[in-house]
């Protein structure tokens, strides 16, 4: 497991991308153990702020530049007072960061094809993942979906990496009007045909996804129907990001068959989609380990 560091880091670049803001920050300590799927927790509001909790963002990249201090990149959607403060930061200002955090994606056997599905700025962690997959000769297809063009992220970067990108939007303002899941069967067939290796289970492709819970669940259902693995990175509300506060839990089936509330910050954000009990998120399923002790309080 990568050991996280706590680092004060200078903003090197800020770029507006549609509805999002992309940060490049000089944070050499965070680059060392980076794997695709890791996230960073950023303090907001400045010293003595009333906003006491960090905001978590998937890492979009981490570069250990030769001869220069390493940089990390992450993408922010402004949707509350904390992120509104963050997107107003400028080059040269400093951010208080903790990372890299979480359990990252794992790679399939070299040569196994992969379809990467990003919803909105959930595309961010998939781009370094695509790079890692290509490095091990896995054919990669990328499917990006969003509500509209403004909320689409990473299309150009994805095209540069893999050549062709499939885009869907809810309103049809970019790509095909519809859902990412509509495009997945064809994309899986294409990478399956291009795969040079079969996984242990005989499957010729793997799914990876990051985005809203509804999309992740749909991707998981599709993977289950086709008998393939889907690794999904969830976006749960967190307080600490380091595993102490227990607020970001999801009901997850363990390898022992028993289900527990597990922390998406430490045990995730990347989970095997088939382990998450999607229908039970936000409830207390009676068969969860320890649910029987909850009577009374």
């Amino acid at each position: 497991m990568t050991k996280p560091v706590h680092e004060t880091a200078e903003i090197f670049a800020v770029r507006k991308v549609g509805a999002y803001t992309e940060f490049t920050v000089v944070a050499p300590g965070l680059t060392a153990g980076f794997r695709p799927g890791h996230f960073v927790a950023v303090a907001v509001g400045g010293e003595n702020t009333a906003m006491i909790l960090r905001r978590a963002f998937a890492l979009y990249g981490a570069n250990q530049n030769e001869g220069y201090a390493g940089t990390i990149q992450f993408v922010v959607a402004s949707n509350g007072p904390g992120t509104q403060w963050l997107v107003q930061r400028q080059v040269g200002e400093r951010l208080d960061l903790v990372g890299p955090l979480g359990t990252p994606f794992t790679l399939p056997a070299p040569g196994t094809g992969a379809v990467l599905v990003g919803g909105g700025y959930g595309a961010a962690p998939l781009l370094p993942l695509a790079q890692a997959l290509l490095t091990q000769d896995s054919p990669v297809e990328i499917v990006l979906g969003a509500a509209n063009t403004d909320r689409l992220f990473g299309e150009l970067a994805a095209k540069r990496l893999v050549g062709q990108v499939t885009v869907t939007t809810d309103d049809g303002s970019a790509g095909t009007k519809g859902w990412v899941t509509d495009e997945l069967p064809a994309a899986l067939d294409r990478v399956g045909a291009a795969s040079t290796a079969a996984s242990a289970s005989g499957a010729r492709a793997r799914l990876y996804a990051c985005g809203p819970m509804g999309m992740l669940r749909a991707v998981g259902d599709l993977a289950a129907a086709r008998g393939i693995t889907a690794q999904v990175a969830v976006e749960e509300a967190m307080a600490c990001g380091i595993g102490v506060c227990m607020t970001c839990v999801l009901p997850v089936r363990g390898t022992d068959g028993a289900s527990r509330f597990v922390r998406s910050c430490v045990d995730g954000p990347v989970f095997d989609a088939s382990a998450i009990r999607w229908a039970d998120v936000g409830t207390l399923p009676p068969d969860l380990v320890g649910a029987d002790a909850m009577g009374g309080h």
Binding site: I52, L53, V244, T247, V281, A293, M294, H297
Partner: protein
């Protein structure tokens, strides 16, 4: 620099900074950021007899200078805790305050029996801010008699288990009319000291869904927003029971915040919610507190405990004497 050693009952500590229950897990995560053996002590998340799932999500809402949580004491249960977590804490040399919670008086006694003779347990913090399942869910800490019954049972269990049991502290809720009354009941029932304060009961309504924001409906409010309430509780209890050791907590984010609790009468303090925003907060607060004591002419933390209760003349003469 000032001498920082302190004590909580019979427990001697090299410094007065502890973590707070529920804000540091069982120590492993924070140990990635600093050596937890350097803390005065680690205070564990509250342990119960059986494993508990905790409540459904959402479990947290950020509030101005604070947060509301409804975790529901998710935990592995005492057996797994002793085997895995307590053993690990001992292996890294951390002094450990074990927080215990229960819904029945007898369960508090049983938990105390399991822990009081264990050499890795430096102190037991009895979290009595739990609903009493035998009294229609009335919170123990909000009822003087129920608080007494828990502390009497824990005292007896500790004394039956060990001739030198670790100190027993009761952690009190601020959601009472007169906290000194509960404090007195706990002290008379055998508490060696008090942890002040637990969270305040709160509620946040999500104006999009127009329903309570938390799965548990209500939650515990913590963070700097509650600090003045906590300092007031420490002040009142120290004034009423000056000989009783107090572990102070509630919204401590800086050395100056910690100093307020010490001046009000706390012998040591817990850094809680601040850890969520800054995993290095406990060691930072320790360094800041040391510098602030020094800047005020204190040669020892002990001289600062309860200092704010002295009149102006006495404060001046004591500072002159120590200079």
């Amino acid at each position: 620099m000032p001498e920082l050693s302190t004590s909580l009952g019979r427990l001697a500590l090299p410094n007065p900074i502890l973590t707070a229950s529920g804000c540091a897990g069982y120590g492993r995560e924070l140990h990635q950021f600093f050596d937890i053996a350097d803390l005065g002590a680690v205070v564990t998340k509250s342990i119960q007899l059986r494993p508990r799932s905790g409540r459904p999500t959402p479990r947290m809402a950020e509030t101005p200078s604070g947060m509301l949580n409804s975790i529901g004491l998710q935990g592995p249960g005492i057996d797994s805790f002793i085997e895995h977590d307590l053993a690990w804490l001992a292996s890294v040399g951390a002094r450990t305050v074990v927080s215990i919670a229960a819904g029945r008086v007898e369960d508090y006694a049983e938990l105390t029996r399991r822990l009081a003779g264990h050499q890795a347990v430096s102190m037991i913090e009895v979290n009595i801010s739990c609903p009493n399942v035998e009294s229609r869910g009335q919170v123990f800490a909000c009822d003087p008699q129920a608080s007494s019954r828990v502390m009497q049972a824990a005292r007896r269990a500790a004394d039956e288990t060990s001739t030198t049991p670790p100190p027993l502290f009761a952690k009190l809720s601020p959601d009472v009319t007169d906290i000194t009354q509960i404090a007195r009941c706990c002290a008379e029932s055998g508490a060696d000291g008090l942890s002040l304060i637990n969270t305040l009961l709160g509620l946040v309504i999500d104006t999009d869904s127009m329903a309570p924001a938390l799965g548990g409906i209500t939650g515990g409010l913590s963070g700097p927003a509650i600090r003045p309430v906590a300092v007031r509780c420490v002040w009142q209890v120290h004034q009423a029971l000056p000989a009783l050791p107090i572990l102070g907590m509630g919204g401590i984010r800086s050395g100056l915040d910690a100093l307020q609790f010490v001046l009000a009468g706390a012998s040591a303090v817990s850094v809680g919610t601040a850890v969520f925003g800054d995993p290095d907060a406990p060691m930072r607060v320790l360094a800041e507190l040391e510098a602030e004591l020094d800047a005020r002419g204190f040669t020892s933390l002990q001289d600062a405990i309860g200092f704010a209760h002295l009149d102006a003349e006495e404060r001046a003469s004591r500072l002159k004497a120590s200079a």
